[in-house]
Symmetry: D2
Subunit: 508 residues, 4 copies
């Protein structure tokens, strides 16, 4: 059953998690103003699955069950699925800045691959367990938080060498009916207003660290869980044209001897497969990030166009303004194109699902990570200095200054000063506030640092194919100049696969 | 019938064009050493259509005739066609640097669109004429040169205002059986060793300049044609590891009262459609350029990997070398991804063919235009200063210096000095020679300057969709905070089309 | 007499300006918490003139009076003066982020030049008046706000064509004893806590707009002045490690028929000299901005080094971290170097003072304007995602979460978690908050937009010298190859002056 | 005695070096056409010391002798000396592209420092020897080649571990009257047409490699020396408007048991001081490179302005053209500014001479190294595609094509086609030819790779000062908010020296 935003908000009342925000215990997550923008943001993923014009993108048919599910909970089977997911994420993020729920999608797809692989290697039965869990999640249309990034402690030591073993979540006891886990996950997006957490390792572990290779699912209010979170967005701030409505909370989640029954354990001690799960999640997630930040780009492009219009600047006459807009478009669409290419040149997984191409996914994420700062710069360029010099909205109601300020705020005569101020505050909110700072940092480090992308690009790129192609060119030497008898074409897609075998996936 | 390189070279003997190179009249194009690298380059497009592993990419079924034709002469009908063309161009350019013949593809597709459009508007019969011509070209597997860029003269005046009207090719006489054209095309790739020229305008003309809105086909040796060309590549230079084999000639082509019979005239005086033809050609061509320069990127990636290997540098230990390689990959694949996205988000033309998305095509071309310089820089970064300090190949045969130089050239003990020198000379040839300079400038200005791309991006991007989306966000105001009742999702692809209607073209 | 911070704060009690902040009237500027960070910031310029180790930089001998004055109020006479000013601004901004008071310096120097020039052309007596005013300001060590940027209204019309003439400050009445001015200045840094405003035009005016060409000085509490300001920094926010102490207010200042006696009027109707005043101020100011942002760079470099240390990352092993730090240094020092070069290649003014070179001043400002975004990116790169994921400081006092959070926050074992959190919050404050957004936008647009810099660079650069030099090279042709008889060296400094005449100014 | 170009050319006849170019033995260096452009380039440094308007820059008074010497052979004593040297190098390189002889300056200054330091530590007498040598070189106004970069062989092994010890120059015998050296220097600029070589190590050596720590001077025609060189520039090529006149040869120099008498040995086995010599040379040299490439920038700026003029493009109307010119100026002057700053913030050496600041010198060199590619791009941007499409100069004399080509080449009516072609060929020569490639690679790798600069910047930057400054800020905490009692200003120049002690050197 597909929920609406209101269904989702109501459903949160059935849970009673231990949540602190700004040092205060939250009584009711569904009613907490400091969390409302976060719930609204997640809500977009529910509502867009209901609305006629977006339903086709925001829902999909789950192959293993034949049921129609929310796109954010769907396992991808085709190139078109990947492309639809990318578009869907862009769509919801152009409304909400960051709709958060695609992380669930990314993790579910990675669990699908990893549990199958683990069973194939170790003869375990994780895949069946996971499939049951997946269908339950889809049927109840749940919101899942991804608890992956451990606190890590001393970066020079491995998990089991830490003074404080709780720096990483790990298994402390294995019982007949399940396992007990303990430790801290440091950065969990949307933690307070999720239904469940998917717990997974944040790195490959060595065999001696096998207790740290654990993946499972737990409800947010399981005994022993404490969530310490930041407010979502800028709730209650009058100037926050955007982030008073939509935002994201991020939380530290402590697991203090939390029991997990066997049917919710999807990995326990298989260190190599834990690494595969992490990497596979990273690839799906980076692909989704591309869609998310493209949606953010859409917001900036639209807001920039409105602002320069209100300033009375004609793009045709002011070449440097048009240039800045074209740069903003070029940045947004060029990293988005990497997401499209990753959808076309997919990887088929033995589990029966597909994964976006890792080279293009990592390149797209790498580009957005560094270029988000240029996007802010360009938005500022087309907006002018007003966005930080504008007196606050409280002045709008000050009888002694209101009239004179309105006169000052007027730009183009036919656009009301209030409208100009509104757009200016929106751009400040998106790019020159805490919310703007959050977008920067999360683009840079979320889903892995630029260094992590670079390693994945290098690890996956068919460099040898390229150097062999050049070697063949040189080997022919100059003797055959003018008579080139036997040529062997190289491979030319990023994956390095034979060309013919790659194309059908896009063409089907 | 599909030709081989040898068939093609032989076929040139049937023509007797007036060609000058370096101030000398060329007796036989097929035998002229100064043109051999150019013929070899074109030859790759013939041979790769014969070789088993590349045939699927390099050939296609022409819908209007049902025949199998060379991909470089094919009219695209699907997203997969566009993707295959892109891959095919990358493949031939990774062998030859620039295979030249894709310009024919770009022009043929544009003529297909423009002749149909002209007929629809003016009741002419160009489309039928053109279709006959197209089938003849495909059947004989011809090489076509594109004569578009006029000499232009004084940039501040329109064609009919020029002191020297021959600065633009134009119709000087309309006879019962055809037209007579006159003027100069300044930059025609591969001019001397083509079978025919496709003549077309290089800009939109005003009604008073209708004599300049002419498109037609003429054999290279038609009466009145003179070709003044540069040598192709660096023929005969011992150090030119690459461009002594492959290169491109470029020629100035004078049309001195050349008669063209009616069945080869495809536009005569329809100024608006002439502009459409030019723009449409530009879009197809920029899409092809993306594939071409990605192939060049493949060469640099391969050569860079070989060079750093010969220098004995381990990428795992030398992070800055790996970073440079990853940058080179990122540049190449990110502009290539724009070509892929342009193939997925295609435009359907009323003529029954498809055109790549203009926004993504122009962004991809814009990126490669400016980043070719970074590609050279990165290739130099990973190669070291040796590539310009290395004594010339003549020293390899100097008994007094050969032995001592070989000792100097040795890097990693297990890689022969001669092999290291070979790679170094290849990189110099590709990036630090006349050939390298040519790649730079042609990437920047070929197919239009960066400013031209920017205008097309701005003209085609759905900015209004974006600003309307943001307006709706602002209009809702803050009253509905927490209760978002009626949302209207925006559009999210670059084309600005409704999302559902856009996807099928990729998914079919 | 040189004041201390406390003297300065006390001196504000002698004024009673009409100030609104967040819609509320401010009773006592000196005691208003929302303005305290701004007063602290200005205070740094006072205290550093008292402290032994900085006194030499922060004070100077005023040539026209022989007295020792605060560097921020000094008229420059030598290259060393310019260099000392640059260093002094860097020093105070490395403490306070932005010490605000250098704007007074920039304006005073421009008034010094412009009043002399006006007298020379028009036979007026502004220079003498201004000198008296200057000496009074220096003697009382005042803080001056610069009221330059008009509200502007409809950007497509000139001042006298506006529907609302008050969009620009202008003379509404000329009395026997003075003038009356009216209108709005939109962006006045530090407005509420200044002693006086220097009013000046923000552009060159046409003769018909002569009423808008007015420059004068008025106390902040003159009759008819209303100030609508934003809070300075982030006063009272627990997480604001930096900007709760230091910040900048910016205000809209309305002049509602304010009377100015003649001895405080320094320009009235001389439109051309008004333009010179604006341009000259811009050059001094852009030079000062270079020092200011270099001081900000120092903060980021220091904070980045502390953060990566606390994370336990060794720069020697993590090449990408060291690279990011080197990039941050390179950006900061390369725009600072432009400030140094502008000091060396100065312009001597007929008034007897000196102006930094406009080309280097504009280049330095242009670089910092666009690269501030890269500085934020690099600071985030070396800091990691923690800076936005860290729960707020309120949690530090929450007994239920304090202990477990401290464990999570621990990085390198020998660095307390609280210290790591402190640095993380400092970096968030400087780069990912409203304060960070303010630094971005003010760097980009403060002192003129990038487009304004580019125009000044183009206007002032000796392009003709360069093209003449190349013409001479070409004219010699190839005839003299091997025999180069008569050469005429070109000019080579940015100013295009003869080399020998330029050097002494640096060398004296 | 200061020589003229002709004196210099004649003086070369007194030497009889063993030189090979393109596999052929050169009979007379002074008369060899393949080397003429190199001799012309060096000649500029001689002639400019004679010409009235440049004499002041190109000569200097040597403190140790009181004589007037060529600036390229002078030991710097003041900030003004450093600034004059920078200007002088810019001046000669704006004429010749690269005047080569500043390498002698860089090495002589480094030897001056290193020999004094070695004497102080080891009680040797190198300084006195070197001073005598220096005075002889100055008196005879010699041209010196710098033989530093060893062949290196296997990069993973140190010199004494190489299979082929001759990969590095080293002492093979120590005789009573001198030493015998052996090995290969791989990249010696201007090798064939120098009078002497200064031999020096290219890295710090370990004590066990002491035989490789050798520095000395030898005539180019000493017994046992063989030079294998490339031609200088593009001698004899009709299209080479610039590099047929000016160019640089680079040579491999083999030392096959060359005897060096004691009075020409300046280091023998002092490994640590050998490293100091290398580093010190690198700093002087990088500072000089800044001047050299700024001169190259002057050429491109001038040529770009001429080309766009000939194309008939008005900078005022074509904003993107003006933008490109401003970018070219900004790049050139911003790295040049680093050279100015390095001159101002100098280091005083115990030997009594001065060294430019290493941080600014390395930053300037790092910037030019990577931005030379952008300079090429911008030159191409403003020039258009003509520069590579233009038929060769041979066509200018072809009676069948000359007239029609001239018509094609015409742009702006009042600028002759031949003049436009001339500029186009100049730009091709400088940026899109072998010569252009050489400028790229030598900018990137000459004087050390970008990675080497980054290490020096990191090693020399006062990061600790910065982090201590921030620590003090944080330590004060929030308790003193509003009352900042005891502040300690930080240091603020790149050197990290106390501010007052730094300024006098610029101000004297």
């Amino acid at each position: 059953m597909l929920l609406t935003t209101e269904d989702y908000r109501e459903s949160l009342r059935a849970y009673n998690p231990t949540v602190f925000v700004n040092g205060q215990r939250v009584e009711s997550v569904a009613d907490e103003p400091l969390l409302a923008p976060g719930i609204n943001g997640v809500g977009v993923t529910y509502d867009f699955a209901q609305i006629e014009t977006s339903r086709m993108l925001m829902t999909a048919r789950q192959g293993s069950s034949g049921k129609t599910v929310n796109r954010m909970l769907h396992i991808n089977e085709t190139s078109t699925d990947l492309l639809h997911k990318l578009e869907a994420v862009r769509l919801v993020c152009a409304e909400s800045g960051c709709a958060q729920r695609y992380l669930a999608h990314d993790a579910l797809n990675a669990f699908y691959q990893a549990t199958r692989r683990t069973d194939d290697t170790h003869g375990t039965e994780y895949f069946e367990r996971f499939l049951n869990y997946l269908h339950m999640v889809q049927d109840r249309d749940l919101a899942l938080g991804i608890a992956m990034t451990d606190a890590k402690g001393d970066r020079t030591r491995r998990p089991s060498e830490q003074d404080n073993r709780d720096a990483y979540v790990h298994v402390v006891e294995r019982r007949r009916d399940g396992i007990v886990i303990r430790g801290t996950k440091a950065i969990v997006t949307g933690a307070p207003y999720m239904h469940e957490f998917l717990v997974m390792p944040c790195r490959t572990h060595r065999p001696e660290d096998r207790d740290f290779a654990v993946a499972c699912a737990v409800p947010v209010d399981a005994d022993g869980i404490t969530i310490v979170a930041k407010p979502a967005g800028r709730p209650g701030e009058a100037a926050a044209r955007f982030s008073a409505r939509y935002g994201q909370s991020v939380g530290v989640v402590h697991f203090d001897d939390v029991f997990v029954p066997h049917d919710r354990v999807f990995l326990d001690g298989e260190t190599e497969e834990g690494g595969f799960l992490t990497t596979s999640y990273a690839t799906h997630h980076r692909h989704s990030c591309i869609g998310a930040r493209a949606g953010f780009g859409d917001l900036l492009i639209g807001a920039g166009a409105l602002m320069s219009e209100a300033n009375g600047l004609d793009m045709a006459r002011h070449a440097h303004m048009r240039d800045a807009m074209v740069d903003l478009i070029t940045i947004t669409e060029s990293f988005y194109a990497c997401g499209v290419a990753a959808s076309v040149y997919l990887t088929e997984d033995p589990a029966g699902c597909v994964m976006p191409d890792p080279v293009y996914s990592n390149i797209g994420k790498l580009l957005l990570a560094t270029k988000i700062y240029d996007m802010h710069r360009l938005a500022h360029h087309v907006s002018g200095g007003l966005i930080v010099a504008l007196p606050g909205p409280e002045e709008d109601h000050n009888p002694e200054t209101r009239a004179s300020l309105a006169a000052v705020m007027q730009g183009r005569p036919d656009i009301p000063a209030a409208q100009r101020a509104d757009v200016a505050r929106l751009i400040e909110d998106l790019t020159a506030s805490h919310q703007g700072g959050w977008y920067s940092v999360i683009s840079l480090h979320g889903g892995g640092s630029p260094e992590a992308m670079k390693r994945e690009i290098w690890r996956n790129y068919p460099v040898t194919d390229r150097s062999e192609m050049v070697s063949r060119l040189l080997d022919r030497g100059l003797v055959d100049q003018g008579q080139i008898p036997h040529r062997q074409p190289g491979r030319c897609c990023a994956k390095g696969c034979e060309v013919p075998s790659m194309v059908p996936s896009a063409a089907e």
